[in-house]
């Protein structure tokens, strides 16, 4: 069988070789230079450029129509609205530039396709034009920079709220642990030397402030309308805490504490009633039913967003945003570090 394949392959090669020789012979006999572009080549490719432009723009619009309801829902955090507003403004600008500049490119590519009887114009440069297209982008960029930095400074400001909720997110391959400071509202000190089975985040057992710290896995809760200040640590390698619905992200770097803060403004329950979210969840559930899986409900997620190994894609934690009352009831039920460690 293998022999047959080899034979067929060899025969095919010989046949192709013959075919090419005929082609080359006729090419050389006619003496024309096939590589030279003819008017019909130019016409064809010029038209193809214009056609491509319409296809390309059509493709863009088709995607916006088909995919834009799948993008992240409205921001669940206060600063996220600032980001979304700025993002929309930027999109308007860059989409406009995308359309206009590409249109010029493809239009000229079609309009000035070459013909034998025409000659190009000898245009070397034009100071006025060049000034315009240096200054206009510069002014537009100035606006982008000014607004970008204004919001950046607001978002990155520390200690806005005198009495925020404090949470530490602790990353390791491949899960998250959330730590609350407990009744004293202070995190105890920690040391990676003290990590063991019953002390997964390395709390210093001699530090009194650690005793009432609360460690939770799989999901953590935050109250709506309260400022939450996160600090991030990592046990092993760089991870990144990504909370897309809250427009929040920060790397978790071993040997270093990083931080980010936001104020959640939409509870999980409210978000589940959002039209955008309902549409997406219905779509997801349709797919799941087809595959014979149980339907799901919307949840906020904390994802890992820095490559961290084999299960990077599955390193996540559920976030629940609820009323302060529900939050207090939930946190009261959680075990403190002391009760965990003494077990």
């Amino acid at each position: 069988m293998t022999l047959l394949y080899i034979l067929a392959f060899v025969l095919l090669c010989i046949a192709l070789n013959q075919l090419f020789q005929v082609f080359e012979l006729s090419r050389d006999l006619r003496g024309e230079k096939l590589y030279k572009t003819t008017d019909s080549d130019n016409k064809f490719n010029g038209r193809a450029m214009l056609l491509f432009m319409f296809l390309f723009f059509g493709f863009f619009i088709w995607q916006v129509d088909k995919y834009s309801h799948r993008v992240l829902p409205k921001s669940a955090s206060e600063h996220g609205n600032l980001i979304d507003g700025l993002m929309d403004a930027n999109y308007v600008l860059v989409v406009a530039v995308f359309f206009v500049v590409n249109a010029f490119l493809f239009f000229f590519a079609w309009r000035y396709h070459g013909t034998k009887d025409r000659r190009a114009e000898y245009i070397v440069h034009n100071n006025k034009l060049e000034m315009i297209w240096t200054i206009v982008p510069a002014v537009a960029l100035a606006f982008i920079i000014i607004f970008g930095l204004k919001y950046w400074n607001e978002i990155m400001k520390r200690n806005v709220d005198a009495n925020p909720i404090k949470i530490e997110l602790y990353a390791k391959q491949f899960d998250w642990t959330a730590r609350y400071p407990g009744a004293d509202n202070e995190f105890g000190i920690d040391s990676y030397m003290q990590i063991d089975g019953s002390n997964p985040v390395g709390l210093d057992t001699t530090d009194k402030r650690c005793k009432d710290d609360i460690l939770v896995k799989n999901e953590f809760h935050i109250p709506v309308g309260r400022e939450v200040v996160f600090q991030f640590r990592s046990r092993d390698i760089i991870h990144s805490a990504f909370m897309p619905h809250f427009r929040a992200q920060m790397n978790c770097v071993p040997g270093q504490i990083t931080s980010f803060r936001f104020k959640p403004i939409v509870t999980t329950a409210e978000m589940r009633k959002d039209a955008h979210v309902i549409r997406n969840i219905n779509e997801i559930n349709e797919i799941r039913t087809k595959r014979g899986e149980d339907p799901i409900e919307f949840d906020y997620l904390l994802l890992c967003n820095k490559i961290c190994g084999a299960s990077h894609y599955n390193m996540q934690m559920k976030i629940v945003v609820e009323s302060e009352k529900d939050y207090n009831a939930w946190i009261a039920k959680q075990k403190t570090f002391k009760t965990v460690a003494s077990k």
């Binding site: 130019n42 010029g46 799948r70 920079i145 970008g148 790397n251 770097v253 997406n280 084999a310 299960s311």
Partner: protein
């Protein structure tokens, strides 16, 4: 062989024909002519063919991981055949193998194809040809540059065949992931080989770049003022300077990582508990690595992009039959881009916990790059305006580059803004952005260069019709691959995820992933068309005339042959800038650089 060097230097000032005849009686063995050759034309072909092989490997890798992303859990028998039972059991890709593929795909494409391949091929081919030199300043160093590149490529490919697999912590190899063999199998021997390979790559790049700079500065022929250089040469010069200044920093980053991995130092390590025990190494910072890496990494983007921009400047002017619009502005904007590229690296690190004020500075410098970039795009478009466009395959790819440079460039404005980066950092939005603006633009530039200068490299022509087919399939396929990724990113999908459907949040995005993968397969088929055309034409393509594109630059003034020393007689003398296309007062629509200026004629480059 050593007189290549002498002849080249001699040729600069003396235009004597004395040494013309001693090129003839030159005895070369097969090894000295084709293997350890010091001739820039041979070295350029060596770089190109190595790069083509590397590109095919990296492309096949991308198809494998795209299949996994589109149809996770589906069995593709050929994956087991290709990857072996350990990495592709039952035709399903292993998660570690996925990360390894992503890592090596990135490494090969960025360094071996678009840095080594692009600069290596075209700087070598075009610098002596276009400045009118007999060869590079040092043929010997040039030869070493290729063989270090070859060795580096061999080690990188060799790492694919070891037991624990190749490096797999992403092409940016951030420690501690890349430093700790306990964290990921790719950080065992695979990472050691990666670091060795890249160290050799840096050596290759430096030898090449220094040679390019020296050659351009010293060996220009009579009359070839800096303001008469083709934009290709300007681009190669600036690229080489960027390489010389930034690659050593990558080397130091790599060296410190080797120390951390093998000698117990802790430049990048601190407070780590892994493999069931705390590590002894304390006091380092992984962020230091990121600073060092991106100090190379960002200029690297322009090391990849500038040669492509230079190549297309030349091709667009030639085939529009018009001078490049704003020659001086083009040089100025390349210089500005080159300078700014050194002070923007922090925009890769907004989310590392870096001081937000420092972030602000990088926002400012990064967005400034948009200005020279915009100038370049507008100048290309204006060059087409009122032209008489000849659609060679090279011209198609050049226009493709301008389009991808615009389309990918505008999303850079969003990513450069630290505020907006919070939500899209490390998502597919980034993947879409850099593949379009850097990947597509640079590879389009490379294709354009191959089609345009194929007759100089192989003394044959590529088939035009297959070139058209290649371009249109690639152009359609490539946008089909990368455009929808913006929407994945806006939906919050992180990059480097083995599957997006392990938890339900992204389940409804599967059809986007499938669409992307189908486009990727389509675009890959287009490359088969290219490969057939490339290898077929190399041996059996048409014979070209001396100046097939009616171009002005010096490489088209010598006969269709590979002459040792490039020109049979004296070196050509240059009298004008290279962009006198369709100049009034001349019968032909091109005026080669060797044609003396008429009595009352102005040189176009003097503006």
């Amino acid at each position: 062989m050593e007189h290549t060097h002498a002849a080249a230097i001699e040729g600069h000032n003396l235009h004597d024909h004395a040494h013309a005849h001693d090129h003839g009686d030159h005895h070369e063995t097969f090894v000295s002519k084709y293997v350890f050759s010091q001739d820039h034309k041979v070295i350029s072909r060596q770089f190109l063919i190595t790069a083509v092989i590397m590109a095919v490997i990296a492309m096949v890798m991308s198809i494998i991981f795209r299949l996994q992303l589109a149809w996770p859990g589906e069995k593709f028998a050929f994956i087991e055949t290709l990857m072996g039972r350990k990495w592709g059991k039952d035709g399903i890709l292993d998660p570690n193998a996925y990360l390894a593929l992503v890592t090596i795909h990135g490494t090969i494409m960025v360094f071996f194809v678009l840095t080594g391949g692009l600069s290596g091929t075209f700087s070598n081919l075009l610098i002596p040809y276009q400045i009118g030199a007999r060869d590079m300043a040092s043929g010997f160093l040039n030869m070493l540059s290729y063989w270090f590149f070859f060795l580096s490529s061999t080690i990188m490919l060799g790492s694919l065949f070891i037991e624990d697999g190749p490096a797999s912590s992403g092409w940016t190899i951030y420690p501690p992931l890349s430093a700790l063999p306990e964290a990921i199998p790719g950080s065992k021997l695979g990472m050691t080989l990666w670091l060795m390979s890249m160290s050799l790559f840096v050596v290759s790049s430096l030898l090449g770049s220094l040679n390019y700079i020296v050659t351009i500065v010293n060996l220009r022929t009579k009359g070839m003022k800096m303001t008469r250089l083709p934009l290709t040469i300007w681009a190669f010069l600036i690229t080489a300077i960027l390489g010389v200044l930034s690659f050593p920093v990558l080397f130091s980053a790599v060296l410190l990582l080797i120390f951390d991995r093998s000698m117990g130092t802790s430049f990048y390590l601190s407070d780590i508990y892994i493999g069931g025990k705390p590590m002894e190494q304390v006091g380092g910072s992984p962020i230091l690595f990121e600073h060092l890496f991106w100090f190379l990494g960002h200029p690297e983007v322009y090391i990849v992009l500038l040669p492509a921009l230079g190549i297309t400047s030349e091709i667009i002017a030639t085939n529009s039959r018009k001078p490049i619009f704003g020659y001086r502005a083009m040089i100025g904007s390349m210089l500005a881009i080159g300078f700014l590229s050194f002070i923007v690296w922090g925009h890769h690190m907004f989310m590392t916990g870096m001081n937000p004020f420092l972030g602000s500075v990088f926002v400012f410098t990064t967005l400034l790059i948009a200005i020279p970039s915009a100038v370049k795009a507008f100048n290309y478009i204006t060059t087409l305006w009122k032209g008489n466009i000849q659609y060679t395959p090279a011209m198609l790819f050049s226009i493709g580059l301008v389009s991808s440079f615009i389309t990918g460039g505008v999303t850079g404005i969003i990513l450069a803004d630290s505020t907006l980066d919070i939500t899209i950092h490390d998502t597919y939005f980034v993947v879409a952005h850099f593949h379009i603006v850097m990947g597509l633009s640079a590879i389009f530039g490379m294709f354009a260069g191959v089609y345009h200068w194929f007759p100089k490299m192989f003394l044959r022509m590529m088939n035009k019709k297959l070139g058209y087919l290649h371009f249109w399939m690639t152009f359609l396929g490539a946008y089909g691959v990368f455009f929808p990724m913006h929407f994945l990113g806006m939906s919050g999908v992180p990059r480097r995820y083995y599957t997006n459907s392990n938890f339900p949040l992204f389940d409804n995005l599967m059809d986007i992933n499938q669409f992307v993968t189908m486009c990727a397969i389509f675009a890959a088929l287009a490359q088969v068309v290219f490969l057939i055309n490339f290898f077929y034409s190399m041996f059996r393509g048409e014979k070209p005339s001396e100046n097939p594109w009616k171009s002005n630059t010096l490489e088209w003034t010598n006969p269709v042959a590979h002459i040792h020393g490039n020109w049979p007689g004296a070196l050509p003398e240059v009298h004008r800038w290279p962009y006198d296309y369709s100049k009034p007062g001349h019968t032909e629509d091109f005026v080669p650089q060797t044609v003396p200026l008429a009595h009352d004629e102005h040189d176009g480059g003097e503006h």
